[in-house]
Point group: C2
Chain length 276, copies 2
């Protein structure tokens, strides 16, 4: 007895994917309502892989659900953008392997990954205005000492994703990176970033070992982020989302971009090793 | 500026769908571990559309999540297989419309729906053994009085799905319907079922108005269920799931059947009207 061919559903289509729709709505809303006083600000959309922890405790957050889900913004928790060194190493192996196989002639599943190894130093300065909490970050190439970027990052919104079956949770963040003048005075603290940066189509995957130094103390964090590579493309597609005067391709481009972004974050989380 | 064609992900594939995998694992496990003492039992897998309520209260269950998710079995709640009459009417309109459009020549999205209107009467009797809690159900055609089925239903397991964006939640149930002798004595109570039964490929969608009578009291419930139509096909595909000696088609048939089953339940829930 064998299964005859099945339609996707009684309507012949897949049901709406609530998860991806929710992420797309959140990012779209956050982008369109961004504060107008920073016209030079660059919109950054990223997914960080880490762990959601109870506020005021060190336990991983617990909710009585069996599958990955998006938390309401009022859930009390904090996100730790960090993983165990062996998890980081596991991702490094995975991405390097993918870089090699995707570059081989005849590989048809996807576009090749590009790769670069960056050594960066961030120095943090107090904001120019005493009312603002937004610190200024100066990023230098560690080897040459050349300044790559001087900016302050303004957090616009976060969405937390709880992933009970995996060794990691994730957080989607929308920020505004505003270029500023190089600050005077001395840095409050610095951090060194040893970053493996993989580029695939419209996405950048950064695997970074961050060593922070403040008051003589060192802290090492292992971060993994997926970022939308071209803010100008993101904004162009967001502006046409659902526009009845745009072509079908233009109207749906934003949701397609977000779908691939969510798929990439999920692929990484699904492939994370258990922590601890 | 327009979006270039994107791969599904860095791996070129969609990430594993955790939700559908969890449902398939649950149903597979429940079927394979079913009690062997009922060899004549028919396996019933159904999704009921209704509302999850707090145990001991009448409020709809609340969890701090934004999208549909599967509850852990230890969440204290009860499932009410009922909806508002106007929600029921809405589904009736939707399914009738789909029946008409799907039967028109040139309709390509899916297979036509079949339809029948059933008037049934269930009578419930105590179980033959005094230890057993399983009542015996005798189902008759209301018009002719002919007995259609005499059986006891043994509940094997449930999975609750919380759907915070919609007017309804849902529950997946796996039961064993065991044929038994017609009981002696008189029925404890009866219920009348006015059922619109739609068949689409391997699924039956039952929209039923149930009028229960016990001790002179009447209660009317409005139910909606999706059921896998052929238990023997379900068991045949379950037996071959992941079998390395089976063909690729046979190995994946169970998961394909469950995917279409979940899609159909979701399409219904997504199209439910707000209650109240």
């Amino acid at each position: 007895m064998s299964l005859p061919p099945l339609s996707l559903s009684i309507l012949g289509v897949e049901p709406l994917d609530e998860f991806i729709k929710e992420v797309a709505d959140f990012i779209h809303h956050t982008i369109m309502k961004r504060p107008p006083e920073y016209p030079t600000g660059k919109v950054e959309v990223e997914a960080k892989i880490g762990v959601l922890r109870e506020r005021g405790g060190n336990n991983r957050l617990f909710l009585p659900v069996l599958v990955e889900t998006i938390l309401r913004p009022d859930v009390e928790c904090r996100f730790e953008s960090n993983m165990q060194p062996q998890q980081h190493k596991h991702f490094n192996g995975l991405l390097n392997k993918l870089k090699i196989t995707s570059s081989q002639p005849g590989y048809a599943s996807s576009t090749p990954l590009e790769y670069s190894h960056l050594y960066l130093v961030d120095s943090f300065y107090p904001s120019e205005s005493s009312e603002s909490r937004d610190r200024i970050r100066v990023t230098r190439d560690e080897k040459t000492g050349n300044v790559i970027e001087t900016m302050k990052k303004i957090r616009l919104g976060d969405l937390n994703v709880y992933s009970p079956q995996r060794g990691a949770d994730w957080r989607i963040s929308v920020n505004l990176e505003v270029p500023v003048q190089h600050p005077l005075g001395s840095a409050m603290h610095t951090r060194r970033k040893d970053r493996l940066s993989y580029t695939h189509e419209e996405f950048i995957i950064d695997l970074t070992q961050v060593t922070s130094t403040a008051g003589g103390n060192h802290e090492v964090l292992h971060e993994l982020e997926v970022e939308i590579a071209r803010p100008e493309l993101l904004l162009a597609t967001a502006a046409k989302r659902g526009d009845p005067n745009a072509s079908e391709h233009e109207r749906s481009a934003f949701d397609e971009l977000i779908r691939a972004f969510v798929n990439n974050a999920r692929i990484l989380v699904r492939n994370s090793e258990p922590s601890g």
